[in-house]
């Protein structure tokens, strides 16, 4: 039992106790409840600014005769177009009631021809009224007339929870009324997979899931790259033990499904009383999994650099670390960018597996929405969300690959040879950086005219 239902129960119990134990003291018309029926488009929610049905019930107390009831809702709501059904109940049987209803903006007055006597339950069902479009908790207040004059009505409790009528909601409403939408949805396939209203609502409700997917993969990737690089260097180490550790790590992770790794981490760690936030654990699992693949990519990249590059660096007197940092890795980075991007795409898609352990990501949201609506459209919308990220990246990969192929042939625009002379003059005064920064190294494949090709293989 969650907190809200508990408080509701408490309120009811208290109200009952109040009514039963102290009937004389509680002299006055008691507001039993005020509820609103969920609108057609809101699922289980009441949306403000849209026609709904407000039900108000109150019990007339002992020795009281109610001649009129005046209800009031916040200014933004409206009774203007409403029709009201008035019922008076005595026990389970309906008592005859004569009434006159006058509605004015956010107030509604019901006058009874014959004052309503004690013990009767008055029920007002107000059709086609609207609650404030700003959403939030709405309290129905008001006054009533009894034989002693005007009395204040107790505010309705609990308040009516409403959600704001967003532009999105109004668009959905607009779609609802379009003839083409009705015809579109009449088609079994289109209505099941591409229902326009659901595409709209899915886009908004899946968005947080999409953000979480992106967040997880973006947060995990730097760690994956770092770990991958470490294990790549370990795998080409001269020490057998270091190599063995790297090989075991890489092969185990590459040789088992990510799904299994997720299960082991998400269910295994809590068993050992290690409790990590789901999203953080998701980032960790994704980082570890990707690092194994990246390690192999980096290793292949490093090994693809010709031996001559090591020899040239050595002949300048560079140490192993200097050679790696200044010569080998900058070239490796360029070479592996397409493959790493492909792996990033894979990792992004693989975050969907985290839905199986309750991470509220894109897949989870679409699964929930589909089970609520019984429609496939949220899944299709999820596909759109994945494609928004992956399609541009796929394009990027192929562009970089073309650029690399071109620059390996020495193509692309050349720097202007003439501009040189001016720069030579400046040299003595100020340093003109010629060393590639990391940013330059990373962006190089995106620019034309940079080479990623090593010299030809060395000859012994």
């Amino acid at each position: 039992m969650d907190a809200r239902s508990r408080s509701v129960a408490c309120t009811i119990v208290l109200a009952l106790a109040f009514v039963c134990a102290l009937p004389v003291q509680a002299w006055g018309l008691t507001t039993n409840k005020a509820t609103a029926k969920p609108n057609e488009d809101g699922g289980s929610e009441v949306i403000g600014g849209l026609p709904t049905r407000l039900t108000w019930e109150g019990t007339v107390e002992e020795g009281e005769k109610v001649s009129s009831i005046h209800l009031e809702i916040p200014a933004d709501g409206s009774f203007a177009e409403s029709t009201t059904k008035v019922t008076a109940l005595e026990g389970l049987s309906r008592a005859p009631v004569e009434s006159e209803v006058s509605a004015d903006k956010n107030t509604l007055t019901v006058s009874f021809g014959e004052p309503i006597g004690e013990g009767l339950l008055i029920r007002l069902e107000i059709y086609n009224m609207t609650l404030p479009s700003t959403g939030g908790d709405v309290v129905v207040s008001g006054t009533y007339q009894n034989q002693d004059g005007e009395q204040k009505l107790k505010d309705s409790d609990p308040p009516i929870k409403t959600i704001a009528n967003t532009p999105l909601q109004s668009m959905v409403n607009w779609l609802d009324n379009q003839e083409w939408v009705k015809q579109w949805n009449a088609n079994q396939f289109l209505g099941m997979f591409l229902k326009p209203q659901l595409i709209l609502t899915s886009l908004s409700s899946l968005f947080p899931g999409w953000l979480l997917c992106l967040g997880i993969v973006i947060a995990s990737y730097p760690f994956a790259i770092l770990l991958g690089l470490v294990f790549a260097l370990m795998k080409i180490s001269r020490h057998r033990l270091v190599r063995a550790i790297a090989i075991i790590y890489i092969n185990t992770l590459r040789g088992t499904p990510l799904f299994l790794q997720i299960y082991i981490m998400f269910f295994g760690l809590p068993m050992m009383n290690i409790n990590i936030d789901n999203n953080v654990l998701g980032i960790i699992v994704m980082a570890i999994n990707s690092s194994a693949y990246l390690a192999e990519i980096f290793r292949a990249g490093i090994e693809s650099i010709p031996q001559g590059q090591y020899e040239a660096a050595a002949s300048l007197g560079m140490g192993h670390l200097q050679t790696m940092v200044n010569i080998i890795l900058p070239q490796t980075i360029r070479r592996v960018i397409p493959t790493v991007t492909s792996d990033f795409i894979m990792a992004f898609k693989d975050t969907s597996l985290l839905s199986s352990v309750g991470v509220m990501e894109l897949m989870m949201f679409s699964k929930n929405l589909t089970s609520v609506t019984g429609n496939m459209t949220p899944y299709v919308t999820a596909a759109i969300f994945y494609l928004i990220v992956t399609l541009p990246l796929i394009k990027v990969v192929s562009t970089i690959e073309k650029r690399i192929a071109k620059s390996e042939r020495g193509g692309g625009p050349r720097p202007k040879a003439k501009a040189k002379k001016a720069e030579v003059a400046v040299v003595d005064g100020q340093a003109v950086g010629a060393e590639p920064s990391l940013v330059e190294a990373l962006s190089a494949p995106f620019k034309a005219g940079t080479s990623v090709m090593g010299g030809t293989a060395s000859v012994r």
């Binding site: 040239a312 060393e435 060395s458």
Partner: protein
Amino acid sequence: MFDKAKARVEARQEARRVPPALDAEVAAAQAHERDKGLTKHSFEPHEHPCVRIEHLMKTFDGETQVLTDVNLTVWPGEVVCVLGPSGSGKSTMLRCINLLETPTAGHILIEDNEITGHLGTREVNKLRQNLGMVFQSFNLFPHLSAKGNVMIGQTKVLKKSKAEAEAEALKQLEAVGLLDRADFKPAQLSGGQQQRVAIARAVAMHPDVLLFDEPTSALDPELVRGVLDVMRDLAENGGMTMIVVTHEMGFAREVADRVVFMEGGVVVEQGKPEDVFDHPQHARTAEFLGSIK
């Protein structure tokens, strides 16, 4: 598998038979005596050779013997051209001097300091700073511009400031006639231009000795001249000590102080260019030179 191991053991036993390196004074005196008539280079009476190779032996995988017994001295400022058929061990000898190959046995001494044996990596790096190397396949760093290639050794190894390194780089690029290509990437340069950048890169470190490993072999014939001109300029005006493994007979004849002919892992014959080219003493030298002509 056992054969290989056995061969390795034998190679090591063979290595023990190599006599220890000579004392500096003794070696210098011997070298003076030997090289007097063999080189055009004029050396001082008490000068010591800057590179001394004694009984150098190199075996690959314990079985392929590339260098059998190489003996050679090189004097400061001398230009030595090493000729010989392919497989004669020229390149291997050159790479041994730079420790790109580890000698199996024998001694190499730079400025009378022995570099063979167990040098630490730091000492090896220090040594290589003083030995410039130009490769057959250029081996420029493709991610750096021509200027960047010449600068990186200066900034990272010699720890020069960027401004200093850049000034030096532009000076060296100007010397090889490529100042206007300073910002070009290696892939945008012709082979000849790349090799000239590689020479500038080696020279910018101001090494004691420059090693050239067939610097023009990978070039189209029309590009060879530019590279040779740069090397000639270095030899004649720069006073650089150079050991050049080459097939360019014309260059060897004109520029070299001494020509060394190698075959089968030994120095077969050496002498002044005109002596070796015009009056070869060994039948194999004559045969080789005949086949080249």
